[in-house]
């Protein structure tokens, strides 16, 4: 019997075998049905993706399983798989997890796993859809007291570029890591810690070993300092030599009354571990505005230095202003520089009307986008606290040294809401960027402006059930969430998503 089958069998057995009325079963289910295709392809087809998350808690024990199912007319894209399973024991100070779990060492310089809830990833070549997470499979133990936090793990991170139907399954977890971390809370204001990690990259018996020191301090109430320094153990500590593998991250937050800010510094070198299971803080402002989110600079851990400075002021009337300045430099076999200045204002006209606006200027050498200017205006109007109207207008333009004409991106959305359950909207986008207008299926470079028009509707028909419907064309491209960036595909057709919790 396969390990996964055994665990699920055990899982099911416990549920049926339990007579304890205190036990709890709960979970969630997300079904997403699409009919359509990529805009440059001719043939429409239907697909169905389903994700079931099931939890069973019984005293200190809990069991978890995630089943994913994908069905299309193309057999090689389809799968049905138990993609996660976990057994956990937990009491007031101690926890042990066996199976699939999420864990971060330090601030992610050495190891970080994640799950992006609700995301469904699709690779343009494989055309298989699956949830986008990078978990660890193995065993983890942690304990927490008032003055000490300790964790240890032996696990294989998921190489999530490969879909669940990729066989052999072992290739989806090529790296093995063993790590231990301890943090001591010297007082309520100071904590220090250290970590050690041994890595067996890519099915190798050869090992790499890393150490890490971290600290966090709040000497006075309105200022804090934090940071981490991680390094390969055969490198000289704090020498910062070009051939060494190291990562240094330092930051500070502060505020005085309504004024506050943060400043962060990074210096990473030769620090992409294994197939990329670590995620040092990127120190790049991650915007929610679509034109800016797609332009998010992606961290290059082979070599990147830079800093981020952000400041804000909150006015008594509810208005706010935020400014951010970010730089990054990649000194590889060629130097790439990135610089961004961002300014955002929020103005509350009255209880029923608010206006948000932003201005962003960037020079982005890695993307070859110079003098990139982005602006936006978002108004939110409420009628009697029930009906609402949101208007979102964004514009972006940039130059490429080898393109004679500047490129532009346009975004416009209007959304009606009937609180708290219904919203409906229209999203329009257009682009003159040749990388968007050019058809990948032809040799010629098409330059005619490309447009996307889509409609959204969502209805929450109970506290646990919600339906979202999209129809039309949707623009894809890079998307970044919580420091994780990935590519999403354009889509043209109809999509219905049904989410439920039970």
């Amino acid at each position: 019997m396969k390990k996964t089958e055994f665990i699920l069998f055990f899982f099911t057995f416990v549920i049926f075998g339990s007579k304890d009325s205190k036990a709890q079963v709960y979970g969630s289910n997300t079904v997403e049905i699409q009919y359509g295709n990529l805009p440059f392809e001719d043939k429409n087809f239907g697909s169905s993706y389903d994700q079931v998350n099931l939890f069973y808690d019984h005293n200190n024990l809990s069991f978890y399983g995630r089943v994913e199912y994908f069905l299309t007319p193309y057999e090689d894209r389809n799968y049905q798989d138990l993609t996660q399973k976990r057994i956990q024991y937990r009491d007031d100070t101690f926890r042990i997890r066996l199976g699939n779990f999420y864990e971060t060492i330090g601030r992610g310089l050495l190891l970080r796993s994640y799950d992006i809830p609700g995301s469904v990833y699709e690779d343009e070549f494989e055309r298989t859809r699956y949830s986008f997470f990078r978990d660890l499979e193995g065993i983890a133990v942690d304990a927490t007291t008032s003055w000490l936090e300790v964790k240890a793990l032996h696990a294989k991170p998921l190489f999530n570029i490969l879909p669940p139907n990729f066989k052999p399954d072992t290739l989806r977890r090529p790296d093995l890591v063993e790590a231990i971390q301890a943090n001591v809370f010297l007082s309520e204001k100071i904590s220090i810690g250290g970590a050690f990690m041994r890595s067996y990259p890519n099915f190798s018996n050869a090992t790499s070993e890393y150490g890490s020191f971290m600290f966090s301090s709040t000497p006075i109430q309105n200022i804090s300092f934090f940071g981490e320094y991680a390094f390969e153990t055969d490198a000289q500590v704090l020498a910062f030599q070009k051939e060494d593998a190291y990562a240094l991250y330092l930051g500070s937050n502060f505020y005085i009354d309504s004024f506050g800010g943060s400043i962060e510094y990074k210096n990473y070198n030769n620090f992409r571990l294994g197939q990329g299971y670590n995620d040092p803080p990127s120190l790049i402002k991650e915007h929610t505005y679509p034109v800016l989110n797609r332009s998010t600079h992606v961290l290059e851990t082979s070599n990147e230095t830079g800093f981020q400075f952000e400041t804000y002021y909150n006015f008594e009337e509810g208005h706010a202003i935020t400014a951010n300045f970010t730089t990054a430099k990649n000194d590889l076999f060629r130097e790439f520089n990135y610089m961004e200045f961002f300014l955002e204002g929020y103005y509350e006209v009255d209880d029923f009307l608010s206006i948000k606006t932003f201005f962003d200027y960037a020079d982005d050498e890695p993307k070859s986008e110079e003098n990139r200017i982005s602006v936006g205006l978002i108004t939110d109007k409420s009628f009697n606290y029930e009906w609402g109207l949101n208007l979102d207008l964004q514009y972006q333009t940039f130059e490429r040294s080898f393109d004679p004409d500047p490129s532009s991106n346009y975004y416009g959305a209007i959304t009606f809401t009937y609180l708290p359950d219904i919203s409906a909207g229209i999203v329009f986008e257009a682009s003159t960027d040749p990388q968007q207008t050019d058809n990948p299926n032809t040799f010629a470079v098409e330059t005619e402006t490309r447009t996307w028009l889509g409609t959204n509707f969502s209805y929450r028909f109970s506290s646990s059930n919600r339906i979202d419907v999209f129809a039309g064309k949707r623009r894809g491209g890079p998307a970044c969430t919580s420091g994780i960036c990935y590519e999403i595909l354009d889509f043209e057709g109809v999509e219905v998503r049904f989410s439920t919790r039970f």
């Binding site: 399983g65 389809n78 799968y79 138990l82 139907n165 076999f333 050019d438």
Partner: protein
């Protein structure tokens, strides 16, 4: 409720596709792809490059780390070997991105060797999946895989250089021994050289057998096959008329008796 859990159990018998891939020491799968920057229909096939050591950079034109790692393939690999006529470097776009994205990729990375389009399937042929981009591969003159990278190209370029040096050394040694040996095949320098528009290529076969004599341009593309068939032993010569091709450096390659010999010639119009 029971039905629900039984459904989950049934789902355990999951389906999946088996990944076909090639390992070091096996014959490299052939491919043919359009060349970026050349007229439509200008393709390069791996089979055309038989007898040369081929370096491949599998990249994605829209892949952020491919853009920042791309320069290492140009400066540390291509620039190191580009003057060796037995060496060819190719970049293969595995994201099947539009031409404009690849033009942007070339500008950002500064890569000067040929970039080939729509190579997603080729990556799958080599690695078994489409997720293994930003990788280096080296194919020997015998058409067999000599190196298959498992990390991004900036991490293993020194290993790649070592493999290419070894593979080129094997070719060089083979050519020197063959030319000095009275019992092996021999390839003479063409005459006249430089030439316009025709030149004569002479060679000697120690034993009868299948013979192939091919002409390649500086991009490594095969542009003519002068001989492809069985020949008797002894001295042979053949004339090549280059009226239809532009001025430049060309390579001619003799394949016979399991051996490969290459020489260079110059056409000046």
């Amino acid at each position: 409720m029971k039905t629900f859990f039984f459904t989950i159990l049934i789902l355990l018998f999951s389906t999946g596709y088996a990944s076909a891939q090639v390992s070091v020491g096996e014959e490299a799968p052939d491919f043919t792809h359009q060349v970026l920057g050349e007229s439509e229909g200008t393709n390069i096939s791996l089979s055309d490059l038989e007898g040369q050591v081929v370096y491949i950079f599998f990249y994605g034109a829209g892949c952020p780390h491919c853009r920042t790692n791309g320069p290492v393939t140009e400066t540390e690999i291509y620039q190191t070997f580009k003057d060796d006529t037995n060496f060819v470097a190719l970049g293969l776009d595995t994201w099947d991105d539009p031409v404009s994205n690849n033009q942007n990729f070339r500008n950002v990375t500064g890569i000067t060797y040929p970039l080939l389009l729509n190579a997603g399937q080729t990556l799958v042929d080599y690695y078994g999946g489409s997720g293994f981009y930003d990788r280096s591969v080296v194919i020997g003159a015998d058409g067999f895989l000599k190196y298959k990278g498992t990390t991004f190209v900036d991490s293993d370029y020194e290993d790649v250089v070592d493999v290419i040096v070894d593979e080129l050394a094997i070719l060089s040694t083979s050519s020197e021994i063959d030319n000095d040996s009275p019992t092996s095949i021999r390839l003479d320098q063409n005459y006249p050289n430089p030439f316009n528009p025709s030149t004569t290529i002479s060679y000697q076969l120690a034993s009868p057998g299948e013979v192939k004599l091919q002409i390649f341009n500086a991009l490594g593309q095969q542009i003519a096959t002068l001989v492809d068939g069985f020949q008797a032993s002894g001295s042979q010569s053949i004339s090549w008329n280059a009226t239809s091709v532009p001025s430049g450096i060309y390579m001619y390659r003799l394949i016979a008796g399991g051996e490969v010999l290459t020489k260079r010639m110059m056409l000046i119009k």
